[in-house]
Symmetry: C2
Subunit: 150 residues, 2 copies
Amino acid sequence: MTATFPPRGSKADLEAPDARFAPKFDADGLIPAIAVDAGDGTVLMQAYMNADALQATLEKGEAVYWSRSRQELWHKGATSGNIQRIVDVLTDCDQDSLVLRVEQQGGAACHTGRRTCFYRRVPLNQGTDVELEDLGDDPVFDPVDVYGAM
Amino acid sequence: MTATFPPRGSKADLEAPDARFAPKFDADGLIPAIAVDAGDGTVLMQAYMNADALQATLEKGEAVYWSRSRQELWHKGATSGNIQRIVDVLTDCDQDSLVLRVEQQGGAACHTGRRTCFYRRVPLNQGTDVELEDLGDDPVFDPVDVYGAM
């Protein structure tokens, strides 16, 4: 890893409207990144970036994450063609979370072929052992066509 | 901590539209939760839940997080009155992230008094040592009135 970001200042420094960008990476060197559709704001997916992924995202203008399962940089869409063009990167008050406003190429962010990874609802008030409720999103693509047999 | 959720099955089990809800908590026992405005989808904040916080959220129908800084359950709005009424809880394909569709009481999720914690943009293509750009959101409340001197 080579990218470095500025050291973090006081809470007041971090929260100022014109603060220096000083993202907080956790003990594993990661910051959560939430990709939302730049058009209608739908949350598409949530993943993580390390400093190199964040630097690459800001430079390329395309979302680059850190794959925790593969332990490598993950240029989203490099396999499927479904890259995420960055419209805006936002950060929150204490700079430990990112929102990416993206144009999702191919119309689907989820590896299941659906537009968003968040395609199911958790029932309320039914305890902690429940069946999820499908929101009924039709897949935009067949994952087997895009990735081969999984 | 007393709440328990079902054990996690195979990838195919976890991704099925009618899967059993088997959320993944990380090494610290936490899962990220993204609160969005149920009206227009704006991302308001991102925090974490442990199993007890998630159970409490599903039971109460109000967002309860785990405060990493205070190491305690955090019923959002208990101090400020600005609770988040839950409209929907969604989970993603591999069930390691949550989206809360909420009605934000008081109109502001951020402790700075702004509607959303994501009130600044990170400039693209200017390296890793940059000043954030204020999106110009006016505070909805004065934090000193709500929380006292900070």
